[in-house]
């Protein structure tokens, strides 16, 4: 991994861990609209899945800001790893055909 990409990933981790805990807790645009028109309750109890880190909070950590920082850092790294693997899978066939060409020539 080039140095530039390493630093950029580090910047992403810093954003999640240092700024994440200080995010505004006001409802976002859609939540605000749902509140104003009284349909926010339609989502209550409807979540079909129990997520491991609901609302970007790492469970088992009492310090609220710390729990958000940790969940954010974990999510950021997870995003990097999964996209990396997916990306490698996307370019896999290309790599193989290039290698074949090389082997044949």
């Amino acid at each position: 991994m080039s140095k530039k990409i390493f630093w950029f990933l580090l910047a992403a981790l810093a954003v999640a861990a240092l700024l994440g805990p200080y995010a505004s807790s006001y409802p976002d645009g859609l939540e605000r609209v749902a509140e104003d028109f009284g349909f926010l309750g339609k989502s209550e109890g409807k979540a079909v899945l129990q997520s491991p880190m609901p609302d970007y909070v790492m469970p088992g950590i009492t310090d609220e800001k710390g729990a958000t920082a940790l969940a954010g850092a974990v999510g950021t790294l997870l995003t990097f790893v999964i996209i990396y693997i997916a990306g490698k899978a996307i370019t896999f066939s290309k790599r193989m055909s290039r290698r074949d060409r090389y082997v044949r020539s």
Partner: protein, 215 residues
Amino acid sequence: MHIPDGFLDAKTWLSTAALSAGALSYGLTQANRELEDRQIPVMGAMGAFVFAAQMVNFPVAGGTSGHLLGGALLALTMGPWPACIIMATIVGLQALFFNDGGVTVLGANIFNMAVLAPLSGYWVYRLLNRVIANRPVKIFLAAWFSTMAAAAATALELAFSNTIALKLVLPAMLGWHSLIGIGEGLITAGVISYLTSIKGGLFLSIGRKAGESNV
């Protein structure tokens, strides 16, 4: 703008899921054509940055907040179809691990934020290429529009689900997101300016893919 479970009816989330599946499978073949192996770590880092930035809600007005979507940011740096794949991964992770956006409505959230936002941002940028020379202004407008497109689609889906009347929800969603989109535009223009200012540039496809010559 992550729709939770319960807001959309079955016909709406099924049809948006079908649309998203179609767009993503086309996107995968396009991404395969465009991407080089060396760009994969860059894709990961850009995606990680967008995930992180999405956590940071900023207040907009009167007790409301917004956060970066990042669709235009990814589309202008990585190309529109790789951007779709990256965003879909992020939206999926958010639903599965962080309870942000429902699982039944994942197709709708992917359609709004991972298909419409990057593609509309990209195409608006290309259209503006013909009329505006100032790049940060073009980026700002493309990013602002991408937020509005995603907000309009969300409003339409809510209306199709009979959750709320279109004539109420469309102006409300567009109203709030016209403000949130200003944040989207400023962050997108700022980050891309920074990335292009790094010595030797960083992987950007904005020049090549968006039809500019001198980046």
